[in-house]
Structure formats: structure tokens, C-alpha cells
């Protein structure tokens, strides 16, 4: 249960921050009237395309991938902190 909580909170945090960062980059690209493509290999995170007078911003599944990665990192860090704390409890000098 604690592991699931650590994963979900990490995924939520990373997802929110990644979305905000991508949106800020998209707005900057739009202001500069430039196209922008952000992707993790073949997976699109965000793309801004300028065509004639139209600007299209697309948020791709890369955001979800980043969120899952953030969740896994948080889960791993939580496990590491817990293990260290347990080791200290069972230690005497």
C-alpha cells in the first residue's frame, strides 16, 4: 500500500510539473512564432506546429511516460530511504 502511494504521488507530481513545463515551452514557442517538437525517442511529449496563420499545440503520450517514470523514481527513492532507516534502527555502536 505504501509502495503504491509512493508511486502514485511521484507519478502525479511528475505529470503535473511536466505538463506545466511543456505548456510554458509551448507558449514561448507560440510567442516566438516557431515550431517545436519535444519527444522521448519515438514518443511525442509536446509539439507546436506553425502552418500559415494557425498554431497547433499537441500534448502527446510522452507526458504519461514521464509521469510513470517519475512514479517509479519516487518509489525507488522511498524504498531506499525506508531501507536506510531500518538499517539504522538495527545498528548499535
Amino acid at each position: 500500500m505504501r509502495s503504491l502511494r509512493a508511486f502514485l504521488l511521484g507519478a502525479l507530481a511528475t505529470g503535473l510539473v511536466a505538463y506545466a513545463a511543456a505548456a510554458a515551452l509551448a507558449v514561448a514557442a507560440q510567442a516566438g512564432e516557431r515550431s517545436l517538437d519535444l519527444s522521448l525517442g519515438p514518443v511525442v511529449v509536446m509539439s507546436v506546429t506553425e502552418r500559415a496563420d494557425t498554431t497547433t499545440t499537441t500534448f502527446g503520450p510522452g507526458l504519461l511516460l514521464l509521469a510513470v517514470a517519475g512514479g517509479l523514481v519516487n518509489l525507488a527513492l522511498a524504498a531506499l530511504i525506508r531501507r536506510r532507516a531500518e538499517r539504522q534502527v538495527h545498528r548499535v555502536d
Binding site: L9, L12, A13, L16, A24, V27, A78
Partner: protein, 271 residues
């Protein structure tokens, strides 16, 4: 650092009763020995005066008395049980701090930060929000100023619009801190609480609550601020309002406090 002309006061919610130091927020009390009572009875007087009286009363050399009194005051201040009231102008204090920092620099240390505890009224959600925003206002202003100044170093390259964005980032960063702590206080309505600042750390000290409520208090504040940020970012993106997007980013960054990197996240993850 604590000077001879500085005074100490019992922090809000802390009292001395029948030879015991009582903390209403922690719902705990500790027995005091004669020397501790002697120092605390002289709260409000300059510490230098207290040290002289202490040395005389307990027949100790002045240096030893000063060491004992200062160690006791530092310990209580570190536990947010006494506040240190600084004397003299702010400029003089900054000068003294810089001089001490320069002396400590070769040892790779910085002067110890003083803890300050402020009262929070958590009788209702509204009172908790307002009292917390008032208590944290000076820190909000400082954080906003520092964030704006730091962002301006980079944003100045973009011209006048960049400076506007730097101001928005500063205001949003300060506001984020205020809302974060106020949300903690609001979620603690009915629970004795106090706002504690120490160095760059700001926290809400509160009485013991059940684990589920503790988790809700820890998660609710960063999540609430982050959701306000996401709302600003989303609205700014759809309505083509770049400054609203910029304002939303520092607020959304509070989501990182949900991870084990932040104290709230560690509580939420059961660590």
C-alpha cells in the same frame, strides 16, 4: 547568532507553570531545574544582563555562565519553545552576520539560523487561513523579492516583457509559499498549531493527529497549490495569456513536495 542585548520570550502557546515548561501545541511539558527557571523568569530582559545575574546567583565564572545560558537558549530556540527578539537595526544585524560568516567561512560553516514561532488561530478554516497568511507575510515578501531578482538576471535578455515575467514569477513564488502554509493550517482546523521558520525552512508545528489526517494535511497543501497552478497554466494556454502560464509554473512546482524529496511527501509516503 544571539547578542548580549537580544532578549528571549516564550513562544506563543508556551508557558512556565509549577516548575514545568508547557507547550500547548505539542500537548507536552518538561520539568525545569532551578537554573532553567532562573533564565526563563528573566525572559524579556537582555541576555547579557541575565548571564551576569546567573553568574552571581550560581557563583560561576562569567564565561561559564554565558556558555550555559546560551546553550540553554539555543536548545529551547531550536525546539521552537522560545523566540529570540533581536535588538538594534536590521542593517547592524546584517553587518554582524556577515562578519561572523566571514570568520566561520574557513571552517566551511555558516552562522546558525534562529528559529521563530508564530501563533496560528486554527479555531476555524477561515481564521487558520488568515492567521497563517499574516504570520508568513514577511517571508512571502522576501521570497517573492529574491525569486523576482534571480529570474530577472535571465529574463532581462528578453527585454521589458522579460522583466514583467520576472515580476510575475516572483509574485507567484511568494504567493505559492503563503498558500502552501495556509492550506496546511486550514487542514489543521481545530488542532493547536503554530508557524515555525528557521533559516530557509518554513513549517507548521501541530499537535498529534491520527495518521490518516496527518497524511491528508501533508498531501492537501502541495496538491492544492499545484492544482491552482495547473488551472492557471491550462487557462493561460487556452486563452493565449503567456503571463498566466508563467504565473502558474512556480505554483505547479509545489507538486514536487508530494515526492520523497520534500518533507510533506515523506509523510505522505509513510516514511
Amino acid at each position: 547568532m544571539i547578542g548580549a542585548r537580544d532578549t528571549i520570550t516564550l513562544a506563543p502557546g508556551v508557558s512556565v507553570r509549577a516548575g514545568r515548561l508547557e507547550d500547548r501545541v505539542r500537548s507536552e511539558s518538561w520539568p525545569l531545574n532551578a537554573s532553567a527557571v532562573f533564565v526563563l523568569e528573566r525572559a524579556g530582559r537582555p541576555l547579557g544582563e541575565t548571564v551576569s545575574a546567573f553568574a552571581k546567583a550560581f557563583q560561576l565564572p562569567f564565561e561559564r555562565a554565558r556558555e550555559d545560558v546560551l546553550r540553554f537558549v539555543w536548545e529551547l530556540n531550536g525546539l521552537a519553545l522560545v523566540n529570540v527578539e533581536r535588538s538594534g537595526s536590521r542593517i547592524r544585524r546584517v553587518r554582524e552576520w556577515l562578519a561572523l560568516a566571514a570568520r566561520l567561512a574557513p571552517a566551511g560553516a555558516v552562522p546558525a539560523a534562529v528559529t521563530r514561532r508564530r501563533a496560528l488561530d486554527t479555531r476555524s478554516t477561515g481564521r487558520a487561513l488568515v492567521s497563517c497568511l499574516v504570520a508568513v507575510s514577511s517571508r512571502v515578501a522576501a521570497v517573492a523579492g529574491i525569486a523576482a531578482a534571480l529570474t530577472a538576471q535571465v529574463a532581462v535578455a528578453a527585454g521589458p516583457s522579460g522583466l514583467g515575467a520576472a515580476l510575475v514569477v516572483g509574485a507567484s513564488t511568494g504567493l505559492g509559499l503563503g498558500l502552501h502554509e495556509a492550506a496546511h493550517a486550514a487542514l489543521l482546523h481545530g488542532v493547536p498549531s503554530a508557524l515555525v521558520t528557521r533559516g530557509r525552512r518554513t513549517s507548521v508545528l501541530h499537535a498529534a493527529v491520527p495518521p490518516t489526517r496527518r497524511m491528508i494535511v501533508a498531501v492537501g497543501a502541495p496538491l492544492g497549490v499545484a492544482l491552482i497552478g495547473i488551472l492557471a497554466v491550462g487557462t493561460g494556454s487556452f486563452a493565449a495569456l503567456p503571463l498566466l502560464v508563467v504565473a502558474g509554473c512556480p505554483l505547479t512546482a509545489h507538486a514536487l513536495a508530494l515526492t520523497v524529496v520534500g518533507g510533506d511527501g515523506r509523510v505522505a509516503c509513510g516514511l
